[in-house]
């Protein structure tokens, strides 16, 4: 299954479409993209995660990193996370730090 990430830069936000498994072997690849994105200070980082079937704490750490670097004024938006990812976000309390939506832009 592996992992895939695709980046698109828009005027008001940057989008990463990620799919597959985000574990300790693939998180560094995701981390590199996130690092690049946050240095450009987007108003929002939008993650299209519908095709993401697995995320471990290695991936969660990247979400925390992204949110910390984005600061309080920019938002971290997750589009259509699978139920398992939602459950992991709930267990760790990270659900309160991200915006979950069914589509973006609305």
């Amino acid at each position: 299954m592996g992992f895939s990430v695709k980046k698109e830069i828009f005027e008001k936000y940057t989008a990463l479409t990620i799919g597959g498994s985000l574990d300790s072997s693939t998180a560094p690849q995701f981390g590199e993209e996130v690092k690049q994105v946050v240095t450009q200070n987007p108003q929002a980082l939008v993650l299209y995660v519908e095709e993401l079937s697995f995320m471990s704490s290695a991936g969660l750490r990247m979400l925390i990193f992204a949110k910390q670097k984005l600061g309080t004024t920019a938002s971290l938006i997750l589009v259509r996370p699978q139920e398992q990812l939602l459950e992991t976000l709930r267990m760790t309390g990270l659900i309160f730090s991200v915006n979950i939506v069914d589509q973006y832009p609305e």
């Binding site: 299954m1 592996g2 498994s21 574990d23 300790s24 072997s25 697995f54 471990s56 704490s57 290695a58 969660l60 750490r61 925390i64 990193f65 949110k67 910390q68 600061g71 309080t72 139920e83 398992q84 459950e87 992991t88 267990m91 760790t92 309390g93 990270l94 309160f96 730090s97």
Partner: protein
């Protein structure tokens, strides 16, 4: 297809994480375990296996370590055991994030510490023992 127990030995490298999860999912699916339970068990195993790969073996100075993954289904319990010969490490003794930690805004959080927490929260029973020079991490999921 239905097997009562099975084991496989994997190289202790991050590239083995997906094959380890697939090994567990294949066994559990063959035993008609529901998807949500399979996912949570895979997450728990992934977290502990990651620790063994990233810390246990490197700290022991071993660069060709392995992890044996055993899985069995008996008496309405699905049980996975990870065995490694890395540095002794008991995840149960490691501090867990408190409820207050988990309610903290993300800006104030330390970036580590979530893996073992997730592992222990995701199964019905997590246990650890060190026996005959091996770490044994044990995960049990109750099946209704």
């Amino acid at each position: 297809m239905k097997a009562e127990s099975k084991f496989q030995i994997f190289d202790a490298v991050p590239d083995s994480l997906e094959p380890i999860r697939d090994f567990i999912a294949a066994f559990a699916t063959a035993n008609n375990i529901e998807r949500k339970k399979i996912f949570k068990l895979s997450l728990a195993v992934d977290e502990i296996a990651t620790n063994i790969m990233n810390y246990g073996y490197p700290l022991a100075g071993i660069d060709d370590g392995t992890i044996q993954v055993s899985i069995g289904y008996q008496d309405k319990q699905l049980k996975v055991v990870l065995e490694d010969h890395a540095m002794p490490f008991n995840p149960i003794e490691k501090g867990m994030p408190t409820p207050e930690d988990l309610m903290k805004p993300v800006e104030d959080r330390p970036i580590g510490g979530l893996g073992i927490f997730l592992a222990r929260q995701s199964v019905d029973l997590f246990d650890y023992e060190y026996r005959e020079g091996k770490n044994r991490n044990i995960f049990v999921v109750a099946i209704d």
